[in-house]
């Protein structure tokens, strides 16, 4: 019966992708109660039917495991035996038709947040701002994270309980600093922006810095993954608001293609283009003790009351509308400001409340007190090895390549220390344009002639083994 109720609820919310609601805040802006509520919600999402460790079939209602496995199973097929299979990561810049990275993670966080709001409607997924100041001290960042993020009341206990193998801060230079943002945010083309965000440290830094499963395709098993990816989602929002330029070629997504079923619910088809505006999911990103709620219409699509909870100032105006019959609640520990453009229509139900007891009601569903739930490890691996940097090897079997003369006038000779089955030679001018590209089979020496016509200047010679398609050597040459 319980299961049946759940199914109906979720079919309802996912059948129309319109509005839910959440104030997403930096985790350091959460109240003590919010921290515990979030921690316990993560535990409970591993056991949706709440029947504890005796569950005969633990995976059919383990949302964290299901999302984690999905993320792992479809991580990336780019270099696999069948690279045409749809996947979630690393498709840009070469495969824009397969690209869904930012939108997929947005939908994934939203799916999880919905389940959490079913446990406690005030929960909004917090974000972990990993951007460090210039010249930051890694040890200080570790100390701060151990004191605020990986604590007993928050993200700490999952490491042991779920066997996540974290190795916090071991990759010293992993986290991004402020200098890593401009080259991403100054891009106006969406795919270029998305590609840089995905491949550079604002995304992969936290994955590497936390270590353990966070480093791998199994990363979504670590709850801190969601705090991190909510930050990535915020960065996307920070870019999209001024640029208004996000657009996908794909019109559906893995998991959200109308065929995937979990816990008796078939997930709806989501067109990534329909969720490029974070407000479609009622998401408001708070920052510096301010949540600005604007340009939004309360619809009660998910909760009969839309809750916006924040410890600091909630300011609402500029086209925030609660229509007739709709129900909405703002709750702040400190301050609620209603400014021009805020409209609670006749017949609507609006409550603004100061949370005087600073308690977001951490009671879990069914009146049961909030609890940490089953520990349920994913997989024990005691075999963790520390990565050691040793002395570099004295000898190696690299293909030694000699090219001469340099500078050259009309010919370049290339000698290889061993035969290459398929040797590709490319010459680039300084504009990066390929001006010569040739393949030689089964050779140890090559004579490139006819270079007399090239204008004087610097060129780049690239010699590659075309069976592996990556340069064996890149060398600058000067034409006289």
């Amino acid at each position: 019966m319980k299961k049946y109720c759940f199914s109906i609820l979720f079919i309802f919310i996912f059948s129309s992708i319109t509005f839910s609601q959440a104030i997403r805040k930096e985790y350091k802006e959460m109240t003590a109660s919010e921290r515990i509520a979030l921690r316990d919600a993560f535990y409970q999402l591993r056991d949706l039917d709440n029947d504890g460790a005796g569950d005969a079939n633990p995976n059919d209602d383990d949302l964290i495991n299901d999302l984690g496995d999905f993320h792992l199973n479809f991580f990336s097929f780019d270099n696999s035996a069948d690279p045409t299979q749809p996947d979630l990561h690393l498709n840009l810049p070469d495969e824009p038709t397969r690209e869904i990275f930012l939108a997929w993670h947005r939908a994934m966080i939203f799916e999880l947040e919905q389940y959490m709001q079913d446990i406690n409607p005030n929960i909004g997924m917090p974000y972990w701002n990993t951007i460090q100041p210039n010249g930051f001290d890694n040890n200080a960042v570790i100390a701060d994270a151990l004191a605020t993020l990986f604590t007993t009341d928050f993200m700490g206990p999952f490491d042991a309980d779920w066997s996540l193998g974290r190795n916090i801060g071991a990759q010293v230079n992993a986290l991004p600093d402020v200098n890593d943002l401009p080259s991403i945010f100054n891009q106006t083309d969406f795919f270029t922006f998305s590609n840089r965000l995905e491949r550079r440290s604002p995304h992969n830094g936290a994955h590497r810095w936390v270590g353990g499963v966070m480093q791998t395709s199994a990363s979504a098993r670590d709850p801190v993954f969601y705090l991190h990816h909510t930050f990535v989602d915020k960065l996307w929002n920070d870019w999209e608001v001024p640029n208004q330029n996000s657009s996908y070629i794909k019109t559906d997504m893995l998991r959200y293609d109308g065929t995937y079923t979990f816990y008796g619910v078939t997930k709806p088809l989501i067109n990534p283009n329909d969720i490029v505006d974070a407000k479609v999911y009622g998401t408001f990103y708070a920052e510096n003790q301010l949540a600005l709620l604007e340009d939004y219409t309360v619809s009660n699509t998910y909760n009969s009351t839309e809750n916006f909870y924040y410890q600091y100032t909630i300011e609402s105006g500029n086209n925030f509308t609660i229509p007739n019959t709709k129900d909405c609640k703002f709750e702040s520990v400190n301050e609620i400001l209603l400014t021009p453009g805020f409209l609670s229509e006749t017949g609507s139900n609006f409550i603004a409340k100061i949370d005087t007891d600073n308690d977001i009601n951490t009671l879990a569903r069914n009146g049961v007190e909030s609890k940490m739930g089953v520990s349920n490890p994913f997989d024990v691996n005691l075999n963790t090895q520390i990565i050691i940097f040793n002395e570099e090897l004295a000898a190696d079997n690299v293909t030694i390549i000699k090219s001469f003369p340099n500078p050259f006038t009309d010919k370049v000779y290339i000698n290889l220390s061993k035969e290459i089955k398929s040797c590709k030679i490319k010459i680039y001018n300084m504009m990066g344009k390929v001006i010569r590209s040739e393949i030689y089979e089964n050779v140890t020496s090559i004579e490139l002639d006819g270079l007399y016509d090239l204008s004087n200047g610097v060129y780049v010679l690239e010699v590659s083994d075309s069976t592996i398609e990556k340069p064996l050597i890149v060398r600058r040459l000067i034409k006289l």
Binding site: L72, F75, S76, F77, D78, N79, S80, A81, H89, L90, G165, Q171, V172, N173, A174, R196, R199, R200, S201, N204, H207, R208, G212, V213, Q215, T216, S217, A218, F378, D379, N381, N383, T384, Q385, I387, I388, F389, N390, E391, E392, L393, D396, N397, V398, T399, N406, P407, D465, T467, I468, E469, K470, P471, L472, I473, V474, R475, R476, I478, L480
Partner: protein
Amino acid sequence: MKKHLILLLFVFTTSCGNSLKNNNFIKISIYNNTQENITNIMLYGNKFKNLKPSEKSNFIIISQDYIKNNAIFTLDSQGKTFNMYIDNTLSKKSYTFQIDSLNIKNRFIYYNIK
């Protein structure tokens, strides 16, 4: 003219000579220290050949730019795909990534860098 030539040569030798020293490029090879075949290997955006147990790849020369912005280790083994975000601050000229074991459940690639 002669002066020009010397100047050009000087510019060339310094810049070229520095390119490896400055770690604009790094040589990387991979050694399979596991009992399993490893295929479809991609490291820092560069494809490596399939490796049988105890087999070592050739060195591939990879630019620092690739290492910084493609810090992912991908491979297939035992019918599974492994993807792992890895260190992107390599400071030496030459490395061998020795793959010691693979954890299928966690998709962790245990490796040593030598």
